[in-house]
């Protein structure tokens, strides 16, 4: 490690530690990202019809399909609702500017926010998997490596999408409006109202081209023991690259 990476590692770690602490002080973020997805799973799973095995779903129950769906709910909430509020707030209130006068680049604040939201999604995922397993007897992902890969790609796509929302929103108000506008279509694609596996064929084909439609399919496949389709993983990676490029191009520091 060169001396310059050494000298920036300590402040970067300090910024991350601070952002983790601050995230833990936000009851809204804790509830909507960490608790709500699992709560949704519990509510849906307590409907008897959701626990009946369905032949058209290859013998799976709806509650089995909903575990990946609520994981995506956590991701979408973190990416397009929570993170853009934080980032645009930091810009609007001059926090990034204040940091620009120190030897540490304000970009370390942005990357810390991304990491914090990514970690929150991970915790939320573990919670949903655990409750699914313990309460509804949902089997843990059988193709674990594939599941982790799909999960990581999906989190990256969610953060890239959130970065675009932050980049195009001049204020937290605008970020809130754009975030909500993006939120519901993304939730639909993730299969909150109707899992992608149960959508009519043509609709499903289209939805699978969106980041969270593809993520839903990839996570579903890995959960039931298959390697996630490369097509779905490719769609996720392509969205991540495209959205990151747009965010980097459009982001303004002031």
């Amino acid at each position: 490690m060169s001396t310059s990476t050494l000298s920036t590692a300590r402040p970067r770690a300090a910024v991350l530690r601070t952002e983790v602490r601050l995230f833990r002080r936000e009851p809204g973020g804790i509830f909507w990202i960490l608790m709500f997805p699992t709560l949704l799973l519990v509510i849906l799973g307590s409907i008897p019809a959701f626990r009946e095995s369905d032949k058209s779903l290859g013998g799976l129950r709806l509650v089995d399909l909903y575990v990946p769906v609520v994981v995506l709910v956590a991701m979408i909430t973190a990416g397009v609702q929570s993170m853009p509020q934080a980032l645009t707030g930091y810009r609007e209130r001059g926090i990034l500017r204040r940091m620009s006068t120190t030897p540490v680049r304000p970009s370390s604040l942005l990357s810390a926010q991304m990491l914090v939201h990514g970690l929150a999604v991970l915790v939320s995922t573990l919670l949903a998997l655990a409750v699914g397993r313990l309460v509804f007897d949902v089997r843990l992902p059988e193709q674990l490596a594939g599941y982790v890969l799909a999960l990581v790609l999906a989190v990256l796509a969610a953060i890239a999408l959130g970065s675009v929302v932050s980049a195009v929103s001049r204020t937290t108000k605008i970020a809130g409006a754009i975030g909500s506008a993006v939120y519901f279509p993304m939730m639909f694609c993730a299969g909150v109202w109707l899992p992608v596996q149960s959508m009519p064929h043509t609709l499903a084909r289209v939805v699978e081209l969106t980041p969270f439609g593809a993520a839903a399919r990839a996570l579903g496949q890995a959960a039931s023991g298959d390697w996630p389709g490369w097509g779905h993983l490719g769609v996720l990676a392509a969205w991540t690259v495209l959205l990151s490029a747009l965010a980097a191009r459009w982001f303004r520091w002031e």
């Binding site: 300090a14 209130r93 006068t101 030897p103």
Partner: protein, 315 residues
């Protein structure tokens, strides 16, 4: 306060002024907001930038901080370019911005520790917090602090890297008079520790009390650069004479007084601005005409008067 003295470059201490601003220009939408401001600040000085709102003060000092890039002209801090050598400059320059905040839920202590971790040789934040009288707020969140406490925290953050130079932009705006006076004492202490201070203000009293030299900026240009006393002397009406005459005075004779800058009548009271020469002339005029001057007052003009004079002259 707690300077370690390390991290200083002895070369820059002796030969060059610590801040050099040579004619930067900055335009927004085709309008020049800063138009060729030139000054140099010596090590250990408190240098003031004074001017009306919108004069270009913040734009000027933000070029010094490297937050803005001038369209042309040269700015150096400790011999370094604040934009190109941003990282090095930010190690020797502490800034308090006119408008900035911290995360609403960060505590004072966390903010101090976080910002201390950014610097290679930070000050110990404990004595700093004590000196700034924020030890009682260490566990309070930024969003819950009063305006004065926020300002004091920002001063602490500006000093936490053990800088050679601090830039303070409208530090006392929004503070009550008492907090303002406390802050002034603090700035004097900071300078007492050998730190150079670049102070932006629009309070005359503040500039007059604190600054060794002042650049008066108006419409993006320097209208005058001098010591506070020099600026006052330079203004055309540096002495003010006021009295209530026992009988009316002839207006033509008043106007003919030497070195007269202005005459004002109000409720039978006459106020003249001029120099010592004007004072002598008006006294002999009154004596010649056997007029008594009731409540005669002779006062020195303040920086306020000088400022109005200087910024009006360039209007």
């Amino acid at each position: 306060m707690c300077r370690t003295g390390s991290g200083r470059d002895p070369r820059a201490m002796t030969t060059h002024p610590v801040i050099e601003v040579s004619g930067p220009r900055k335009s927004y939408g085709g309008r020049a907001v800063v138009d060729g401001v030139t000054f140099a600040v010596e090590e250990g000085e408190i240098f003031g930038i004074l001017g009306p709102n919108g004069a270009g003060k913040t734009t000027t000092v933000e070029c010094v901080e490297g937050l803005r890039t001038p369209d042309e002209g040269r700015v150096r801090v400790a011999g370094l370019d604040p934009v190109a050598d941003h990282e090095q400059v930010s190690r020797v320059l502490g800034a308090q911005l006119q408008q900035s905040e911290l995360q609403a839920k960060i505590t004072v202590r966390e903010a101090l520790e976080l910002y201390a971790s950014f610097y290679p040789h930070p000050a110990d934040w404990r004595p700093l917090a004590e000196h700034l009288d924020i030890t009682g707020q260490l566990t309070a969140r930024f969003g819950k602090l009063s305006g004065g406490q926020k300002q004091r925290l920002f001063i602490a953050l500006a000093l936490i890297g053990n800088p050679r130079v601090v830039v303070l932009d409208e530090l006392t705006t929004g503070l009550d008079p008492r907090a303002r006076r406390d802050t002034w004492r603090l700035i004097e202490d900071v300078r007492g520790n050998g730190v150079t201070v670049l102070l932006v203000t629009h309070f005359m009293e503040e500039a007059q009390r604190l600054c060794d030299r002042i650049a008066v900026i108006d419409k993006g240009r320097i209208a005058a650069l001098d010591t506070p006393a020099g600026l006052i002397r330079r203004a055309s009406g540096s002495t003010v004479i006021s009295f209530t005459p026992s009988a009316p005075l002839d207006e033509d004779e008043l106007q003919a007084l030497p070195a007269l800058a202005s005459v004002a009548h109000k409720d039978g009271r006459i106020t003249l601005a001029g120099t010592d020469e004007t004072v002598n002339a008006v006294i002999s005029l009154l004596a010649r005409q056997h007029i008594t001057a009731h409540q005669l007052r002779v006062t020195d003009a303040t920086l306020d008067d000088a400022f109005l004079d200087l910024t009006e002259a360039s209007a």
